[in-house]
Amino acid sequence: MTSSELKPIARQLRRDIMKMLMISKSGHSGGPLGLSDIFAALYFKILKLDPKNPGWSERDYFFLSAGHLCPVWYATLARRGFFPTSKLSTLRQINSNLQGHPAPSYTHGVPGIEIASGALGQGLSVAVGCALAVTLDKKPNSVYCLLGDGELNEGQVWEAMMTAGHHKLANLIAIVDRNHCQIDNRTDKVMEIEPLADKWRSFNWNVIECDGNNIDDFLAAVDKAKVRNGKPTVIIAQTIMGKGVSFMEDDYKWHGVPPNEEQGKKALSELAPTEMGDFVTFDWEK
């Protein structure tokens, strides 16, 4: 699939996210919108997977460490065929599989999710364990882990970085969603994490920087990361929180809130419909 085919998928994911949050009236807007390009690229181009057999032993493993970003993950998994898109209207509601923070299908979550996340800072360690297992079995699978930049405040992430470097896990690719925003403020106001690339390098990682809202740039970064040279690789993806919705872009206040009806309508008007079609048509759209 080419980037020109992936772009409308990313736009549809953004429409899905907005509609999901308009229905749930609860959840995170900014981060998921900013990650739609990366999720379209991962699930429709990069990851080796089989939606009909989520536990396929040859699959690439994907871990979303920053669980609160799950609206984009749910939309992506549904669009990729892991479960029906009609379920997207049940986000955060009682008796739904779409929990506020992700859970695996064998608890009460959805297929395609390997482990729960939500409490921050655990995912990279999990990915390290998975990469150790794959290495031990001499299998070709790649292991991906997506982290938020605010999440890097958590000490455990640095423990996992050390462990991955120590064990030279060349099959491990971390992706940092570098949108410079976290719940309270911009990241440099809450906790300065720069020089970020130098920090990862000093933990014995390869570092690749890219524009996470440019699909071609991100695909090229992953191609580079897949060249295994005896070290784990991190892709620091510069993204814009709220990307695609003008009044949400680069504003940390959109970290953890949904749009109200008026804001949602405005957001959808900025995201042109795609051939894939929405999972729900609101009365006012008819």
Binding site: S125, V126, G129, A133, L136, H167
Partner: protein, 319 residues
Amino acid sequence: MLKLASTDMKATRLGFGEALVELGHENPNVVVLGADVTGSVRTDLFMKAFPDRFFSVGIAEQDMISTAAGLAVAGKIAFASTYGEFAVGRPFDQIRQSLAYSRLPVKICASHCGITVGPDGATHQSLEDIAIMRVIPHMTVATPCDYFETKKMIKASIHWNHPIYIRFFRDNTPVFTDAQTPMEFGKANTLINGTDVTVIACGLQVWEAVLAEEILAGEGISVRLLNMHTIKPLDKDAIIKAAKETGAIVTAEDHQIHGGLGGAVAEVLAQSVPTPQEFVAVRDTFGESGKGEELMRKYGIAKDDIVAAVKRVLSRKKK
């Protein structure tokens, strides 16, 4: 009185280390994680035998638990081990989210538990771990009474499809079970079948209870002794039966009085057969440095404390 299988002294942690090596030979998917104290918790034995399947994470217990979860996601049978205080206290959030909520059957194997870790003092004496682990949904909590039971428990754990916390100890302690003594998770072992009172003990307090029973038998008191090696899931049937048949319960553990074995037993009694119960446990206080035996006496969890508790509960027993 208990007919002793043997009177050897051997450490539960050695039973753990030896069982891991046996499992390593039997199952290529068994892997072990170490957080730098491998010689102490005896994972050094596995590390030497199977260096490819031993993973060092450094002194990083949170990372160790989540890494074990990742190994389990990819199909490995992961054992994570360190001292009890650090196995539970530091990575609570990781155990709750990555293991219990995610239902990954990782084995957390905690050595150096309880007050008998002695000279190291209160910072290293895990007296809250049973309570902390017991309150998490889906967790199994077990604690062996001696070397053989530890071995059996570790070997059985790979067929137990739930996250499990196994609590054992540093010191050499009496070996009073043998290779044939049954060990089934969730099933109490009745060591002595008395009629006047039941002592329900776990871990090292099972031996203290054996010694207490000798004293009480000499005074004409018939004690039933249950080794409650699994605290969750708890053998409710055995507790209810004991309450109905003996009418008085004493619990004994190397743990805080709140939330441990005694609390678990009280929850069962209150809901089914309200029965007088006395608690032998550490009374909501931290320990201190000293020899294990000295501390057991000072903090009220030695054989004499069990004897005294039995007499108290008998005085409360309905005539």
